[in-house]
Symmetry: C2
Subunit: 257 residues, 2 copies
Amino acid sequence: MIILKLGGSLITDKSKQFAVREDVLERLAEEIKESSKEELIIVHGGGSFGHPIASKYNLQEGFKNKEQIDGVVETRRAMNELSRSVINAFHEHKLPVVAIQPSANITCKAGRIDDIDTGVIKKFLELGTIPVLFGDVVLDKELGFCILSGDQIVTFLAENFKADKVILAADVDGVYDKNPQKFDGAKLITEIKSTDDGILDTLKTRDGDVTGGIKGKIEELVLLAKKGVPSQVINAMEPGRLKKALRGEEVIGTVVR
Amino acid sequence: MIILKLGGSLITDKSKQFAVREDVLERLAEEIKESSKEELIIVHGGGSFGHPIASKYNLQEGFKNKEQIDGVVETRRAMNELSRSVINAFHEHKLPVVAIQPSANITCKAGRIDDIDTGVIKKFLELGTIPVLFGDVVLDKELGFCILSGDQIVTFLAENFKADKVILAADVDGVYDKNPQKFDGAKLITEIKSTDDGILDTLKTRDGDVTGGIKGKIEELVLLAKKGVPSQVINAMEPGRLKKALRGEEVIGTVVR
């Protein structure tokens, strides 16, 4: 079973609020369909739907004041809108996708998943559907609420369901030794070994991603690799790469093992 | 705390598939806002979004064959579409609504609610938001999946949360002794006592409602009244009645106690 994360930067245009990349969603749906991968769980990020509201209301800090409740309500509405776009695009391509709202299924404690009904996700998978989860604002036993990133959901489910592989479909070729948008000499790291903790220090956090940016993503994947689930970061803006990765064929990217 | 059920026949046009009554939703939002009722849970039916698909694939009988999975996927998509219409209309009127997907939160056994994370619903209520649930196709430990009616969710939550009252907002004045669409002499029953079980036999089932029609609804409310939670069926197609009912003012309808 593969867990596929669709990055928020991939499926939305982060430069505009509430801007879905419909053409990208269509192509991703086709590639998933053509890969003929049967056991699949999809998790997507919030992109320009979740992050700007979460930042505006400081939701990542948990409950501080009543004004934030507007932010919780707006974030929930926005994430359901993005989920709808993904579900509709994928269902039009005959993928048997079923949205599963994380905030109805998961409660956190201090920002980490605490209570989760994995049985629901597992049974929807066993029925032959593709469960689709997403980053969301969820209840938190200590903080009141918190921002649960798609990445955390991915690693939790991958470990819990003993996934064969995690594919993180991003809008960059993989992980670089420096930010390639700022430094000309940035080199793609094709392999990260979970035993080499030093690698994390060399990675920089991107601006404006309240779920931790690329550094946070890799940290989650390194923790996961330590538990035996390999993962792969690929650039799914490049046509064909997602299909190859799903089929287990060689593709440009960063492997974490 | 009040639990408000918005009937599928009220918020959708059952004569056309996927037809939301936007004007009705707008007015209901205004009436709820004007009632200034703070502690509220809303549950809505499936109407022309859920029932036709559920009937087409015989989902109410549980898992019989793989073709039904298309029906599960279509129903989930359709119910999220209807939920979106309700959430967006209500949120535009500044109601702090948060959709909670039943199929992500509830598992049934032989068609009745078995596992449910009421903590999530309760905490969203305590945060000051209005949780909004709906009839849905959910997983079932014996049947594979089942159709969980909004009515069953209402009575379960009303009992569990010891609600002050349940309001069932319908498109008819209340419960009649005969079907008023077929019989001229049908009389409105203004009060049903839960101790008078014979009343149920006199009520007829409407066609095409896989969740049991008006008889099923009243049966659930009678069971609830036996546990101490009164309820009220009102015609929310008539402007002002929902607001009155929420405020506890006198209004035409059927009271179950």
